[in-house]
Symmetry: C2
Subunit: 343 residues, 2 copies
């Protein structure tokens, strides 16, 4: 499959279906999700004006709230009738938000979802410290749910995320990165939080062990699929729909799966190209286009998307052990369409 | 009191007494403290080599382990016989360590305790991400102690610390900072962790409410005294004994108490000096010496140290509500000598 075909496949007739699946989840979790937003706003309160200001910008840049919805839906799918899942869902989103602030500093990112990043507006120092604040608030919220099992799940996940971020940094510009190492990076930095999100939801609902595990694994496989698509989208070139610059991963020399595949298939000329652009970090303005062309020619992009599809399928399979209800069905649909998203 | 006298007062005949008081606490907490070190080393384990490497450097740069000893001593002073205080003490030290890593990035510090800072050796990105990892590990350790009250104490403290760091950043270079604002900064960024350290120790021991509160307040007052001395030492000019560059606060335009006092007492000429060096950040090589001379002339440094003494006295008074035993006595001695330390 060439680049155009692969990209078409991502932006297929079912282009808007992921959006619909997210919308369905939003409708289902309706009131709960509103309370999550209130918890998040409440968490950012501080007499130090910069904190609510910067946190507000982060919330405005928004995002789809996929992670907190995972917690809410998993809890409800398991028959939970309480209110503590709202705190956990808010904590999950805050951990994600704190990670984004630090990520953007580390990557020197300029745009996120079409808005200037906090590090551009307020500065790196401010982003690091407010990120720490938000991270602490996430822990306070978890503790307020007063469930040690869930605390264990979420605190362990946050350690794994940070470990994944360090591993990613250590593998940057390194052409010898294999599929396994790449998988370890995205399992840690992305899938661990997805897994903790659904796992915490099932755990707070006191679901039977098999069901709890099914939700945990669903989150992990979905998270891997999600990140695989994210990494593919960075080479798909639709800047407007992404709300961020495409080609960022390439410019930063990140060893994502398209590059790993392309390197496995590279001829001498292409190898030289990757060595210069990724390993040595010497890039010219036309290099990103050339990178995309190689990814198309070697089918590296198409195969990355196919890989995402396999993980989405595994996520869906996991839910066969879950109670069959509208929440579970919405999660199945989310996984099905997650590999068709364009943002 | 002039600069020389004030400094002499800090480096008084009882110069080594703080060291002796720390040593006494170390002897008393002996086995427990060894276990804390083991927990800390264990926490930094990771297959990502950079993590134990950087965390090991942080541990080697060492420090006196005052905070974890506070937790251990408070717990034992309240008659605690279990083992969970070791986890809490390690968590307290890890929160402190993570904060140092991020602080050094934010301040652009080059030296800490005579060693190059992690940001100088490995880079800012690495320090931010490994700091996040260590912070997460701190939470995992707290959770492992399985005590919701203590979790609440420590997670709330970590939020307050981050808030204090942001407030400090927001007040940098701002000549209108008052004593109250300065106090708010150090209460948050330093005293909150001291207070949580002793509070958590008393709480895990299930001390009566009045005793628990006494230990919490002891920690807070001691933390304020400790930071007041820290801020005074930055103008005392004994680089070798501090293991860090003196004058760092001045160069960064930090509004610490000596400057707040000096500004209250400044004539027109001095005001112009502080405006240029602190507010506008325009500094020449001879400015630090001139700053020290003004602090001496106006007695701003001496009065800062006197202020520290008052807080140390309040810390000691708090412990009159605590059980009278060798642990409590060691904590009293620590507070007494904390205002005589030179590093």
């Amino acid at each position: 499959m060439g680049l155009a075909a692969a990209t078409n496949d991502v932006k297929s007739a079912s282009d808007g279906e992921f959006r619909l699946a997210v919308g369905a989840l939003r409708t289902l979790t309706g009131e709960d999700l509103k309370k999550v937003d209130q918890e998040i706003t409440h968490s950012a309160r501080s007499s130090v004006g910069l904190i609510p200001e910067l946190a507000g910008h982060l919330a405005a840049a928004g995002g789809k709230r996929v992670r907190p919805m995972l917690t809410l839906a998993a809890a409800r799918a398991c028959g939970y009738c309480g209110e503590d899942h709202v705190k956990l869902a808010a904590a999950v989103e805050l951990i994600h938000g704190a990670t984004l602030l630090h990520d953007d500093v580390v990557d020197g990112s300029l745009l996120r979802r079409g808005l200037k990043t906090a590090n551009v507006i307020w500065g790196n120092k401010e982003s690091v410290l407010v990120g720490d604040f938000i991270f602490s608030r996430a822990f306070e919220l978890m503790v307020a749910a007063r469930n040690l099992k869930v605390l264990q799940i979420l605190s362990a996940a946050s350690g794994v995320i940070a470990e994944g971020e360090v591993l990613q940094l250590a593998t940057q510009n390194n052409l010898s990165v294999t599929f396994d190492t790449y998988l370890a990076v995205i399992e840690s930095k992305t899938a661990a939080l997805f897994a903790a999100a659904t796992h915490a939801g099932a755990a707070i609902a006191e679901a039977p062990a098999g069901v709890e595990l099914a939700f945990k694994h669903y989150g992990r496989e979905l998270g891997i699929a999600y990140q695989l698509i994210d990494d593919a989208l960075d080479y798909s070139g639709f800047e407007a729909s992404l709300g961020k610059r495409t080609g960022d991963d390439f410019r930063e020399g990140k060893m994502t799966l398209p590059i790993v595949y392309a390197l496995e298939r590279a001829d001498a000329e292409e190898r030289k190209f990757w060595k210069r652009t990724i390993s040595d970090g010497v890039q010219r303005s036309e290099d990103f286009e050339e990178a995309c062309a190689i990814l198309a020619r070697t089918n590296a992009l198409g195969d990355s998307i196919a890989c995402a599809r396999r993980y989405a399928r595994r996520a869906i399979d996991e839910l066969s052990a879950a109670p069959d209800n509208e929440f579970t069905q919405a999660l199945v649909w989310l996984a099905e369409t997650s590999v068709q998203r364009v943002s």
